[in-house]
């Protein structure tokens, strides 16, 4: 095979890869538009229900607040509201504007963990930080601090949901080439093969999560936030037990031409 043939083959292979990538992106964009419209429609329905129940409760409201049935229905509508708003955020994340400013990863981790602890309530589950940040001075993370906090928060929150009281959630950040990996590991039951495939899909809830309070939006949001930063979310079971969620984020010093994708382990 001559050099020219090899060159031509390589070029057409790159073309095919680009076409596949473009098609994937078009498909993902269509899905986001769908989510946006769905969220909009459901929001309208939820609004009518909420105002209707407001009418009911304001005519029956006493010192003790709305009757139980109305209060329960209101709680469900609140849940529906969180769901539709979450879907809307997921669909419109890029449009909401992603800032690119230097981010102190240690601060991001600390804030996310404090939020998750607060959300978990006063139970016995603990969050331990093994290594709060990658070694200093080795590249800067450019990104949207608040979004990154949100992403890590969802990973920690998710890990806490699957942890037994007293069990620790381990959070660490490390550098790997041109990437930073934020790892959140729990000692829970681990994910099933199905969970591993689908856990980052919106509204997917694994068997272990059913009946719980989750909405099935935390991991998809974390994944989307990683993507708008040029990174990705990896989920895997640890060899011994538990699940490890890894948020891969590119360091700012790289020029995109030399970037390599995070390696699959």
């Amino acid at each position: 095979m001559g050099l020219a043939t090899v060159w031509l083959l390589r070029r057409s292979a790159t073309g095919v890869q680009q076409a596949i990538a473009a098609e994937r992106e078009a498909h993902a964009a269509a899905q986001r538009r769908f989510l946006h419209r769905l969220s909009h429609e459901l929001n309208n329905v939820a609004t009518v229900l909420q105002v209707g129940l407001g009418n009911l409760s304001s005519s029956t409201r006493g010192e003790t607040g709305p009757p139980t049935t109305v209060a329960n229905a209101l709680l469900q509508i609140e849940r529906l509201g969180r769901l539709t708003k979450g879907l809307g955020t997921l669909a419109r994340l890029d449009a909401l504007g992603v800032q690119r400013a230097p981010v102190d990863l240690g601060e991001v981790l600390a804030e996310a963990m404090e939020m998750a602890r607060h959300a978990a309530g006063g139970d016995q589950r603990t969050v331990a930080v093994a290594a709060p940040a990658p070694p200093a001075g080795q590249g800067v993370l450019l990104g949207d601090r608040d979004l990154l906090v949100q992403a890590v928060y969802h990973l920690v929150d998710n890990a806490l949901r699957f942890s037994a009281p007293g069990a620790a959630v381990d959070v660490r950040a490390r550098r790997d080439g041109r990437w930073v990996a934020v790892e959140v590991a729990d000692a829970g039951p681990g994910l099933t093969a199905d969970d591993l495939l689908h856990a980052a899909e919106p509204l997917y809830r694994g068997r272990a999560a059913r009946g719980g309070e989750g909405l099935g939006l935390g991991l998809p949001l974390a994944q989307r936030i990683a993507q708008v930063h040029g990174g990705r979310l990896e989920l895997r079971n640890d060899a011994r037990r538990g699940t490890r969620a890894i948020l891969w984020l590119p360091l700012a010093t790289m020029s995109s031409a030399h970037a390599h994708t995070p390696r699959d382990e």
Binding site: G54, G86, L96, A101
Partner: protein, 236 residues
């Protein structure tokens, strides 16, 4: 006399529930089904405040608001938005709405907002929401360049901290719940995350030299949220 609210939404099921709710809350209510009807009704019904849905056929809410403002009509407007819409508003300045509420909303919250906006706006003057500069004593927030100054000194604040300060100043005198701020400045809506608000408000206070207990500008309302207590002057 009861204030008149013009309720504009193409969703009939919603106006059918919301109109009686507002009436029971001691308002007179007029209803318009789309933007064009709304513009016509503003002339005849002379509402004290307009509750305006954003997404509508024919003329959408943002356009209605722009048209009103461009003809010098400063009737207060509360815009009903989808989450994130208030966050992605570089357009707010031009749009000139007085407040935003994400759907779905608690109708009691809407009534509280209507009362707050009516209190704040009183006479029909240019709304604070369309001010380019917010001034409170030595503190100046330039909303166009998104910079803040205390006297001669520029305050080094993150974008979110400026947005938080701006939001509190725009709603000065009102107690702003942390969850509300989180939803409207950050575009998030889940429990626990209100810590993010505390972090940004603390950043603003540090920059202002404002003590958390006895802030000159921002007061902590224990168990509720924050209130910008100093008077705010609007500079066009």
């Amino acid at each position: 006399m009861k204030p008149t609210i013009l309720l504009v939404d193409d969703e009939k099921a919603l106006t059918a529930e919301l109109a009686p709710f507002l009436e029971r809350s001691d308002f007179k209510v007029a209803v318009a089904r789309d933007g064009e009807e709304a513009l016509a009704l503003v002339e005849t019904a002379k509402p004290d405040l307009i509750v305006l849905d954003v997404v509508m056929p024919r003329l959408n809410g943002r356009e209605v608001c722009r048209q009103l403002r461009s003809r010098g009509d400063w009737t207060p407007v509360i815009m009903l938005t989808q989450i994130g819409a208030a966050v992605e508003r570089g357009m707010t300045l031009e749009e000139g709405a007085d407040d935003y509420l994400n759907k779905p909303f608690d109708p009691f919250e809407l009534v509280a907002r209507i009362r707050a906006v009516l209190r704040r706006t009183g006479a029909r003057v240019r709304p604070i929401a369309s001010a380019r500069r917010l001034v409170s004593g030595a503190l100046v927030v330039d909303r166009t360049s998104r910079r803040a100054f205390l006297g001669e000194r520029e305050l080094m604040l993150t974008t979110k901290a400026i947005a938080a300060l701006e939001y509190l100043m725009l709603h000065h005198g009102e107690v702003i719940r942390r969850a509300r701020m989180l939803e409207e400045v950050w575009g998030w809506d889940y429990p626990g995350a209100t810590r993010a608000v505390d972090v940004r408000v603390a950043e603003v206070r540090r920059a202002l030299g404002d003590d958390a207990g006895e802030g000159r500008f921002i007061e902590t309302v224990v168990g509720e949220g924050y209130r910008f207590t100093a008077p705010v002057v609007v500079e066009a």
